[in-house]
Symmetry: C2
Subunit: 229 residues, 2 copies
Amino acid sequence: MDINSYKSHRKVLAAVDCIIFGFDGNQLKALLIKRGFEPHKGRWSLMGGFIHDDEDADRAAVRVLNKLTGMDNIYMEQLHTFSQVDRDSAGRVISIAYFALINIADYSEQLQAEHEARWFELSQLPDLVFDHTAMVLKAQESLREKVARQPIGFELLPSKFTLPQLQSLYEAIYETSLDTRNFSKRILALGVLNKLDEKEKKNSRRGAFYYVFDSIKYKSLETNGVRFI
Amino acid sequence: MDINSYKSHRKVLAAVDCIIFGFDGNQLKALLIKRGFEPHKGRWSLMGGFIHDDEDADRAAVRVLNKLTGMDNIYMEQLHTFSQVDRDSAGRVISIAYFALINIADYSEQLQAEHEARWFELSQLPDLVFDHTAMVLKAQESLREKVARQPIGFELLPSKFTLPQLQSLYEAIYETSLDTRNFSKRILALGVLNKLDEKEKKNSRRGAFYYVFDSIKYKSLETNGVRFI
DNA sequence: TCAAAAGTGTTCTAGATACACCCATGT
DNA sequence: ACATGGGTGTATCTAGAACACTTTTGA
């Protein structure tokens, strides 16, 4: 704080916007809504909301996400604050952007309909209001950095998943292709996956074994940080 | 944005606070000021200020930093936004924190006196107002992550510097000690340093050669990212 | 029996680490 | 001559990259 009186400074509206990532087994996607009010009513937008008097930005982001998805305990982290003077055409609003990772299959069709929400491939985003496109791009960049060092990629998958699914998630995030042998070696060497007896049979005749986390080792990786890719 | 009218939401004050890192050749330090106004007048604090109507947070941070140091073109990046409801005892203020890297030798004694500013070792910070201690800790963490992948460590040094100085900078940032041979091998292998004929003779009888960046290769590292450590 | 995805091992290479002595110079 | 910090090379180890075939099973 510099100059004396707090009173001599104009206040601003403070909002949060959520970049919600999901993975459909194949593509990395972002959840967008049709904006329900002016300005730009009817255009595609990130889900967002103003910060209330009695909550900080983190709680506002959780509230906003919960409103759209009905979900709690979602992985979410603050991304960046966007504060261009004219970013919102309706007045001075600074927005604290968050990104969230959810298991796309858990997302209720009903809520989706209610909010006119839709999953978009990142390579095929529609025109977005304000600076929301920049937010999504920045979130994607940050996701790539994060997911290489913290075990958060799993947040995008169901609790049981197969190695081919996990590999395909990493391939989608990095827009690259990985060697199956090296991938499974490295991931299994981390010792955070437990193999189940059960197989997933939708994708192949042979079927692929399901895995789940060893949540104890998983936590220790979370605090220490590791190279996943 | 969620619920309709922008008008139904209370506005907040928006500020920036700067964590200013400097390196004295030995220790990594942060620049703090004696707060000149209430609340908490006279206590140690980060340099900060409110965001003006006609500027975004980045520009506010540059302005605030310039006011304290007289410097321009300083490396600075947004760190995190702090928005706890009661973080500022004088009212609702959200603060967008930035960290800056400066060459400590460039910082004018005169301005230091004017603002009652002082460099503090990170391990010996005084009590700080509000959540400023948390800001410094987060900045330190972020600096460590950043400096390993981007060639920003150099911002803390004079334009001519010696290998022992550079090594000692990395040792200070990571609070570790590095092998001299391996360090010089790796750094020189990056090909971003040019050796001068001149020697720095203050620290030893023999003297250590000065180096400067090869700014062209340096830029390409900046965009691509590399492992420095 | 065949199509389609799952699963698995070895070699090679490059980068990281460990490690110790001589050099230059001012006093 | 000696004390102090500067500068350099080699051997070893480890993690990552490259690479192709066999297995399973439903249709």
